[in-house]
Structures are given as structure tokens and as C-alpha cells.
């Protein structure tokens, strides 16, 4: 299976890291891979908030914002 490289940043951490994932990987798949619960984060793809069913493309910047904090 071919792979693509994306950049992933968890908001609050210093800088994005590069990650290789299979083509056709969705944001939901990526969250599982990173052990992030989709109930507790909001994800933006290239600066735009998107549903977790969205498929990733090479070079994408994925920012993961933890939002379950109490408030």
C-alpha cells in the first residue's frame, strides 16, 4: 500500500511532526493511530475545521485541539 506524508500538530505542543500514513486514511483513522479520542478533540485540516470522515492528502497540516476541559 502506498503512503503519504502529512504534518500533525497537537495544539499546545511546539511544532508539527511529519507522519507517514496509508493513502485513503481519514482523520478518524489518524486519531486512532495517535490514540486520540475523537470525542475530546476538534480537528482542523489546513486551517479549516472538518468532519473526521475527511480523507487526508499528501502535505496536509492536521491540527488537533483538545476541547474537553470542563468549562
Amino acid at each position: 500500500m502506498s503512503e503519504i506524508e502529512v504534518r500533525v500538530k497537537i495544539v499546545g505542543q511546539k511544532s508539527p511532526r511529519r507522519l507517514k500514513v496509508a493513502t485513503r486514511t481519514t482523520i478518524a483513522d489518524l486519531l486512532k493511530k495517535l490514540d486520540q479520542n475523537r470525542e475530546t478533540v476538534v480537528v482542523s485540516l489546513n486551517g479549516k475545521i472538518v468532519p473526521e470522515e475527511e480523507r487526508l492528502a499528501a502535505g496536509d497540516l492536521v491540527e488537533i485541539l483538545p476541547v474537553v476541559t470542563g468549562g
Binding site: R38, E39, T40, V42, L65, V67, V68, T69, G70, G71
Partner: protein, 290 residues
Amino acid sequence: MIKSVERRFWHAINENKLVSPGERVAVAVSGGKDSVVCMHLLANYCRVKRCELVAITVDEGIKGYREESLLIARENAKMLGIEHQVVSFKKAFGSTLDGMVKLAIKKRTGLNPCTYCGVLRRSILNQAARELGAHKLATGHNLDDEAQAIMLNYIRADLSRLYRLGPSYSPLEGFVPRIKPLREIPEKEVALYALLKGMNVHLGVCPYASGIHTEVRDFLNKLETNHPNSKFMILRMFEQIKPHLKVAVPGFEMKKCENCGEPTSSRLCKTCELLQDIDLVNRQKNLISL
């Protein structure tokens, strides 16, 4: 998404008759996403339904956490043109929460900070809302909070507290009725609403957050991921059970706390009981400076 949250907010208020026209509503605003969203939605509701809104922020004095959220609460209230009152643990009870935690450790009370914070915060909010002449006190509790509370009180076998959960709670004299217009909206959707509307909200985590609350929260989030809609079903099931709980909840007579005069079913209110355990005995009678 935005319209969906707004529609469910309005539905919660109208369906449960949470606010009547002309009422004065106090909204508890910490600066976090839930309370800020609640304040914005209530501001719009009150504009249309001609009720008054006042924001209350409790400053527990948690260093490195509360300062930033306080500024955010203030900024949002100012943007909405809403009266904003800040009431502090230090002024009300003579110590910040940080100070109380140190005293509790020294006195070996064995109680965790969340116990002090929860009891004292509710007490100070009620007192402030009453002094401000509010008919209702709104909080930003969301679906996740309600599901967690149901599970926690079930685990603790606390029927009385379980019975008090709901979209509104109208207790006895001296207590301002509490309403929770966001209680059917998942926490993540509240967060999305705040982000999509470009609201400035505080997303920090309280440094004292730990223990069973966190464990129940994590459990429910995992459950929801694997079995979507679980939190909502927990809420719905509870609503079916609630009318049947009344017979099992013991009745009590309301009195005035011997120390501070606040309403209680015991000799001392829970707040004074906790404060006396750490040698803090004086409570501020009037919180609101006009």
C-alpha cells in the same frame, strides 16, 4: 452545526420553561467554552424575550489557571454589553482555593480540592445571584456533564443528589432556581460552536482536576466513541427514572445555618462545615459591591 446548537438551546429553554419574559437571569461564567457559549446564547435569547442578563464569575484564586479565564469572561461580557460581577473565594471566605488546599493538607482533612471548590463555588454563586435579585441562575453544564453526574451519583448511591439533576432545579427558600439550557448538547459540539463563531474562550484544564470525575469522563468518552449516542441515552433513561425517585428521597426541614445564616437542612451549611474543618470561620455577608 451553528443553527443546530442554537435551535436545541432555544428548545431546551422553551420546552422546559426555563426562563419567563421579564425575568432577571444570572449566568455563571468561568471563561471556559461552555459558560461563554451559554452567556452568548442567553444574551441573544434575553434580547428577544426581553429578560435581563447579568454575568457572575467566581474567582477561586487558582494560580496559573483562573487569571486568564477571568479576563476572557470579562471581555466576553463587555462585548455583549452585560453587567459582570466577579466574586472571589478570598473575599467571601478569607482564603483562595490554593490556600484552602494547603490548610486541608496540614489539617489532614482527607478531602480533595474538587470537594471544596464545588461546594463553595455553588454557595457563592447562589449568594451572589440572590444579592443581584436574579430569578434564575444559569450554568453551562452540557450533555457530557449531565451524563457524568448521573453516573457519579449512581456510583455513590446518592439518591438525593441524583433527584436534583435535571434541566432546572427549584429548591427551597434562599436558593435561586438553577437552569441548564445546554444540558442536551454534547461538550464537543459546544466547543465546535465556540470555535466556528470565533469566540474567545479558555481551554485550559484545572490543575486540580483528577480522581473519579476524570475516570468517569474518560470512560464515557470511550463508550461514546465505540457506541455513539450513549451519553444521550443515559440522560434519557435518567429522565424516565427520575419521577420515581421522589418516594425514596428523604424529606427535610430547611433551617438557617448557625454560622452564616444561609439555607441548610443541618445545623451548619456544608460550606461552613468545610471551612470550619480548616479553621476558616468568617463568611462575607455581602458579596456584591454596587
